[in-house]
């Protein structure tokens, strides 16, 4: 079967759990910004957890189906309609051949995941269907979906409608959102005052927030420790000799606006990074809208690992509920 994109939304793309293994060549892992939501959507429609879905940001697409199937939408909260009839979020529902799936205005979060039983079956590149526009990989010719695109769907397992993720397993950011940070990398480049103010200040998500990175405004500028520029680094105090960027690492060009590097980020560059968001909180970033208030919370490794274990337990619980 296929589905046809009637309206594409803002930047709707095919995503799965990404293509790890090519970062040393400048090709990022990519994949869903909110991996938990993608896994949940797949489980609801009987897909393997890593099947490809549509990730839509801020605005939903309009999609016409050519065969009967089961669909689920997870992630941010956005009214879901099938031929105008409202459906439940985080819950599987039936769609008949010829029917159209559409969405209302975003109520909370930022990204939704649309899973179709059988999964989106566009050709994989380097082991993944995830769309990476800069490298023209995955999705449809490496780009976001456009009106008129016809996407192939794999063979489904006839998953039943009405399966639902319990409310306590639906995770979204609080307000203000809290993102936990493990200081490290080039943390020593900040003065003590800047190390303190980074965590004390409340930051706001800037309009420049996408799959590559999330920029933040509103906190005090971060002062850097004086130094003689190392050979090859560049003259700005925020420059380093170009190195790798960790997923979730926070760079602050010029010491002014922190940028969290996310799934499609550049693999390296010449700006210092002050540490990284812990792995357990990466999904939350994908659900932040511009203008959301954010507090960065300092943690040590033990707490990062504890949070990671909690996330893993939550995923295990979801599997027990739905598999």
């Amino acid at each position: 079967m296929t589905l046809e994109i009637v309206k594409p939304g803002l930047a709707t793309s095919v995503q799965d759990l990404g293509r790890p293994g090519y970062f040393h060549l400048g090709i990022p892992e990519g994949g869903a910004m909110d991996r938990f939501a993608l896994r949940a959507a797949n489980m609801l429609v009987g897909n393997p957890e890593d099947a490809a879905c549509l990730e839509a940001v801020f605005m939903g697409p309009e999609i016409k189906f050519t065969a009967d199937t089961t669909v689920a939408v997870t992630g941010g909260e956005m009214p879901i309609m099938v031929d105008g009839e409202q459906q439940q979020t985080w819950t599987s529902f039936a769609v008949k051949a010829g029917q159209t799936l559409s969405f209302g205005f975003l109520k909370s979060g930022a990204r939704i995941y649309i899973a179709v039983s059988g999964g989106i079956d566009t050709p994989p590149d380097l082991g993944s269907r995830s769309t990476y526009p800069i490298g023209a990989l995955g999705g449809i010719e490496g780009r976001a979906v456009a009106a008129g695109d016809v996407l192939p769907i794999g063979a489904g397992t006839a998953a039943s409608a009405g399966r639902s993720v319990p409310a306590d397993l639906r995770r979204g950011p609080s307000n203000p959102a809290e993102l936990r940070v493990l200081p490290g990398l080039y943390w020593h480049r900040l003065t003590e005052a800047a190390q303190a103010s980074f965590f004390d200040d409340t930051w706001t998500v800037a309009p420049e927030a996408d799959r590559m990175g999330y920029r933040f405004k509103g906190g005090r500028p971060l002062e850097l420790v004086d130094r003689e520029p190392p050979f090859g680094a560049g003259s700005d105090p925020s420059n380093i000799v170009d190195g790798c960027y960790s997923y979730g690492s926070i760079q602050v060009p010029g010491g002014t606006e922190p940028i969290i590097l996310h799934r499609d980020a550049v693999s390296g560059g010449g700006y210092f990074t002050l540490g990284a968001i812990i792995s357990a909180d990466m999904d939350l970033i994908g659900q932040l809208q511009p203008n959301t208030q954010v507090k960065f919370v300092r943690v040590e490794m033990a707490e990062a690992l504890k949070a990671r274990a909690q996330r893993k337990a939550m995923l295990q619980k979801l599997r027990e509920e739905l598999m």
Binding site: P20, G21, F23, H24, L25, G26, I27, D125, I134, G135, A136, L137, G142, L182, G184, L185, W187, P230, F231, G232, A233, G234, S235, D236, N239, I240, V241, D242, G243, C244, S246, Y247, G248, S249, V266, S267, G268, G269, G270, T273, G275, A276, I277, I278, S279, M301, A304, L305, R308, K312
Partner: protein, 291 residues
């Protein structure tokens, strides 16, 4: 050089060999990252060597971060003794300096540049003490370059020139990054040259353009059929200045599937290079010219 170990969140260990760029730091980063690969440490998922540092990504559910850090630190002593020697290749990359496409782009972004009154090459020549753009261009292509990192975006090489420290060209990046750079632009930032593998944002100064693709996700280009990325760390590059006629000819050959880059297999030994830079480069060039 003093090696510094740090965490990048709970999934990465970042090892800075030296704050400064040097071939010594690059070789330690490369041999240590190779040692991490050969050690087959449980939980390691990605190993990324960079100019003077490297990064290991791992699954902390498989190996505790402290254990992983200790295991990587242990490999430092081993790689100190590793030979700073590489079996690699030298590749001739044709460059059309002062081409119309990067010129059009740099004129569009003049307000983001240190010197809006001239071109990127005018500025780079002046601040490096060259009398003319032509003399600066010659300095850029007269000695070979070493690929010290692949990354930023898909398949983009960072290149470090094989000359004495005092002869290294240094140019700052744009004051604010451009939102556009033509595909295959030959750029410059800090002490590094690069080739923009794809069109997109960029902050490096723009000197010219090569007609030779270095990234092809469709793998249609004849020499990229085996793998879509051309460069790997340790490759050596010699720029060859070309004019518009030759640019057009090569572009047509790439299109026809008949273009073959000039490549020679070579050995690079860091100690031999440090002992005799001119002699080592002459040997590299001899191998290339025989190819």
């Amino acid at each position: 050089m003093k090696t510094r170990y740090t965490y990048g969140g709970d999934e990465h260990i970042y090892v800075e060999i030296g704050e400064e760029m040097s071939l010594e730091a690059f070789f330690v980063a490369l041999s240590m990252s190779n040692a991490v690969r050969d050690a087959n440490l449980p939980g390691v998922t990605e190993i990324c060597p960079a100019n003077s540092s490297f990064q290991v990504r791992f699954d902390p559910d498989v190996t505790d971060p402290e254990e992983m850090m200790a295991a990587i630190k242990q490999l430092e002593a081993f790689s100190d003794q590793a030979e700073k020697r590489l079996s690699t290749r030298i590749i001739e990359i044709p460059v059309f300096y002062q081409d119309p496409w990067t010129h059009e782009t740099l004129m569009r972004f003049r307000e983001r540049h240190q010197d809006p009154s001239g071109t990127d090459l005018d500025y780079a020549a002046r601040i490096n003490g060259y009398d003319s753009v032509e003399a600066f261009i010659e300095a850029h292509h007269s000695a070979p370059w070493f690929v010290s990192m692949v990354g930023f975006v898909a398949g983009l090489p960072f290149l470090y020139q094989l000359v004495e420290r005092e002869k290294q060209l240094q140019v700052p990046k744009y004051l604010r990054p451009r939102t556009d750079t033509p595909k295959l632009t030959v750029g410059y930032g800090g002490c590094f040259s690069c080739i923009y593998s794809v069109r997109g944002a960029g902050g490096y100064q723009m000197f010219g353009i090569t007609p030779m693709p270095i990234y092809d996700p469709e793998q249609k280009v004849s020499y990229l059929k085996d793998f879509m990325v051309f460069f790997k760390p340790g490759d050596i590059v010699k720029w060859k200045p070309i004019d518009r006629t030759e640019y057009d000819r090569i572009e047509q050959e790439v299109e026809n599937g008949t273009y073959q880059p000039r490549i020679a297999e070579v050995e690079f030994d860091l100690e031999a290079f440090n002992a005799d830079i001119a002699g080592t480069n002459a040997k590299l060039m001899e191998a290339l010219n025989d190819a």
